[in-house]
């Protein structure tokens, strides 16, 4: 069976497959690059354009009548018709504050645009990938074993919705894999057996993944397993909407101030491009002291209208190094802006732009993840991933901050794992993992990166103005492995037939010791985050509408890598009677 690794990224999607010689190749994906013009490229921009009728069909070699476009043409259209273009759908997919199955995108679309749900957009991207594989390479993705990557910080609902999108796109055999793990798999595959000499028992590998729109941290420990080296993912960070795009935007803003002119969206997009290139040149070793920036105006007259400014090394140092990678003290925490009472429905972008502070927060929160004493988790190795980390200077800067903290707690400095592949490692690693599942190569263990809890109201008389006390019942312990199941028979819930029952749902990425069925008061738990609520409806059938049925909860971690929750009746009317609880419900 063919194995495919798909990196469904926030800004780009990439696919890897096995080459004829057993190696890994990244597949070129045919896509519309401009009207009537198709090209195969290794990266498919994760953008979707809902075409206006004046634009005609967004024809592809395999579909002449398509009314939307995915890929480069859609990304480009985002510059001049932004209200019809969907970007960052993946961030919406993990946004617990909205109903991710409802048509929300594009947010600012005019009334004549039919909006799509975050799930459907992901489905369209994956559908394009399957079509591109079929028509460009004769690969049948539907029957292939597909390893689909998700951020380590994706919660149970976001993972479930990703699988939903994959199924809708016709991918029937999907396994989920955390992106930082995929990056490490890619490194392992590249190293071959030599990795066993480079990593030792007791090593903790910190994976720092800074992409276009998101930042993701994970820690993977090297353990001894009957004399052989084993890898275990011990901690994952929170979902941080912060990445290279923020840096380019900031630089563009600096240039715009210097130009002292109001720029239109087209000019601003050109400026962003120029700033990205300037950033890379100025961050390079031995790079120039200043890079000229030229921004063309919209019309056909290029001369006379083109604006000119420059970015200097000092500005890059101030904006990028001090703004995004400041050297902060041991134990520094990301700064959260106080929220206005009226929360906007937009994406929850990170308040603090300092990636080093987010890293410090992660290491502090996960201080004991690998069995250490604290006050921070002590990585010994660092694997960098993501386009931003291509810059040697930024890697050194991050490493210097980390090693400063490690020195402060008397630990050895961490070393970078050489030989990373910053852009395509996730797709390559996903494929390597797919092959490892067939028994070739090492596997990273770890199970669920969170413990999950259901909120159950305690028995207390109502007091006006005071919320009734809430107990948290652990329904899936931290590190639950694929194929495992657990039942919470001691906690009984009464469900009314025909009436949907909604439960509050919680997760924690640090509570490692709660067994399934553990119950405690929410007031004592500050390390638990509320997730989107969950819901179950007992259908009328063998039971009478309005009857109260006593049930208990059962959880399973599927082979795909998703969490399933069920309500099981204490007295079943037939064998195996149970009802699935829907994750992620919003009005």
């Amino acid at each position: 069976m063919t194995t495919l690794g798909i990196d469904l990224g926030t800004t780009h999607t990439a696919v890897a497959t096995e080459a004829d010689d057993g190696g890994v190749t990244v597949v070129d994906l045919p896509q519309l690059v401009a009207r009537g013009s198709v090209e195969a490229r290794p990266l498919l921009p994760s953008f979707l354009y809902l075409a206006h009728e004046s634009d005609g069909a967004q024809a592809l070699p395999w579909d002449e009548t398509r009314t939307f476009a995915v890929g480069e043409a859609a990304r480009a259209r985002g510059l001049d018709a932004p209200t019809r273009v969907i970007a960052s759908a993946k961030s919406w997919l993990s946004h617990a504050g909205v109903d991710r199955r409802s048509p929300l995108l594009p947010r600012d679309a005019p009334d004549d645009v039919e909006r799509l749900s975050p799930v459907e957009v992901s489905w369209r991207y994956l559908e394009h990938v399957t079509e591109a594989l079929q028509h460009g390479h004769g690969i049948d993705a539907a029957s292939a074993h597909v390893v689909l990557t998700v951020p380590a910080s994706f919660d149970a609902a976001a993972r479930e919705l990703t699988v939903e999108a994959a199924l809708a796109a016709g991918l029937e055999n999907v396994t989920l894999l955390e992106e930082p793990q995929a990056a490490l798999y890619a490194w392992l595959a590249r190293r071959g057996d030599a990795w066993r000499k480079e990593l030792r028992v007791g090593d903790v590998v910190l994976v720092v993944d800074v992409g276009g729109g998101t930042t993701d941290f994970s820690a993977i420990a090297v353990r001894d397993d009957d004399g052989a080296l084993a890898l275990e993912r011990v901690a994952v960070g929170q979902h941080i909407l912060l990445g290279g795009d923020n840096m380019d935007l900031f630089l563009a803003h600096v240039c715009e101030e210097k130009l002292d002119q109001e720029l239109g969206p087209f000019e601003r997009a050109g400026l962003l491009f120029a700033c990205r290139a300037a950033k890379e040149a100025l961050l390079a070793d031995g790079g120039p002291d200043a890079v000229p920036i030229a921004v063309a105006k919209r019309g056909a007259k290029l001369l006379g209208g083109t604006l000119r400014t420059e970015l200097t090394r000092d500005e890059i140092a101030r904006v990028i190094l001090e703004g995004f990678f400041p050297q902060v003290e041991l134990g520094a925490q990301p700064i959260a802006r106080p929220r206005a009472a009226l929360r906007s429905m937009g994406l929850p972008y990170a308040d603090d732009a300092a990636i080093t502070r987010h890293l410090s927060g992660f290491l502090t929160r996960q201080a004991t993840a690998s069995g250490g004493e604290g006050p921070i988790l002590r990585p010994t190795r660092v694997l960098f991933n993501g386009g931003v980390m291509k810059s040697t200077r930024l890697r050194e800067r991050l490493l210097a901050a980390l090693n400063g903290w490690l020195m402060a707690v008397g630990a050895e400095p961490a070393q970078e794992l050489e030989g990373a592949d910053y852009d395509l490692a996730v797709a390559r690693g996903a494929l390597a993992f797919g092959l490892a599942r067939k028994g070739r190569g090492v596997r990273i263990r770890g199970g669920t990166a969170r413990a999950y809890y259901v909120g159950i109201e305690g028995n207390a008389p109502a007091i006006p103005g005071v919320e009734p006390p809430l107990d948290l019942l652990c329904v899936a312990p931290f590190g639950m492995e694929e194929g495992a199941a657990t039942e919470m028979q001691s906690a009984e819930l009464g469900v009314v037939v025909g009436e949907p029952v909604r439960l509050r749902f919680f997760g924690s990425s640090v509570r490692r010791d709660d067994a399934s069925g553990a119950r405690f008061s929410q007031r004592r738990a500050h390390d638990v985050d509320e997730l989107a609520p969950i819901e179950v409806t007992l259908p009328e059938g063998d039971r009478t509408l309005g009857d109260v049925v006593p049930v208990y909860l059962r959880s399973e971690l599927t082979e795909v890598g998703t969490l399933k929750l069920f309500a099981v009746p204490h007295v079943p009317k037939k064998d195996g009677e149970r009802w699935e609880i829907e994750l992620s419900v919003r009005e």
């Binding site: 009207r35 013009s37 063309a296 001369l303 006379g304 083109t306």
Partner: protein
């Protein structure tokens, strides 16, 4: 030379002439001493036309390339504007836009590599029976090989060029549509 090869050559020469004074001077000398083009031999041309019917695909590829350079680097805008009245500073600023965009486009679609590894201006040996397609003798061309001379131009070779494909039913001569903002 095919149209797309000429387009590439013209494009490469354009920037060299603009930014490399020495090259411009040399190119100018070559232009002066260039023998007048021999009158086209009518028979072979007809023959060639018969052999290779005007292939719409190759014209289409050239148009795709032009559209690509226009999209990414405003190439057509630049060529079609009369630049004689503008000061060098304006030409230079615009050239940055064209250079940055077209270079990104070119490098994203193939690789251009020098044919000769030696630095220009250095003495080089040319074996007899060399490939006349990749190396050209200039100056006092006479005698039998091996030859020894000064490398004037390293040459360029395009490797693995892949261009966007035009879809049937779309007019490839539209390299950039007119735009009206609502």
């Amino acid at each position: 030379m095919s149209f797309s090869a000429r387009l590439f050559f013209a494009w490469a020469c354009f920037f060299r002439v603009l930014f490399d004074g020495a090259f411009a001077a040399r190119a100018n000398t070559v232009r002066d001493v260039l023998p007048p083009a021999p009158p086209p031999d009518p028979a072979p041309v007809k023959e060639a036309l018969k052999l290779a019917k005007p292939a719409p695909a190759s014209i289409d590829a050239a148009l795709q390339l032009l559209a690509l350079f226009q999209r990414e680097g405003r190439f057509v805008d630049f060529l079609e504007q009369d630049i004689t009245t503008f000061p060098d500073a304006d030409v230079g600023t615009a050239a940055r836009v064209v250079h940055e965009g077209c270079r990104r486009a070119l490098h994203g679609h193939g690789k251009v590599e020098p044919i000769h590894a030696e630095e220009e201006g250095k003495k080089v040996d040319v074996p007899s029976g060399f490939d006349g397609a990749t190396l050209k003798l200039v100056g006092n061309v006479s005698g039998k090989g091996p030859y020894r001379g000064t490398l004037q131009h390293r040459g360029w070779r395009v490797v693995g060029l892949s261009l966007p494909e035009g879809l049937a039913g779309f007019d490839a001569t539209i390299v950039a549509p007119a735009e009206v903002e609502l």
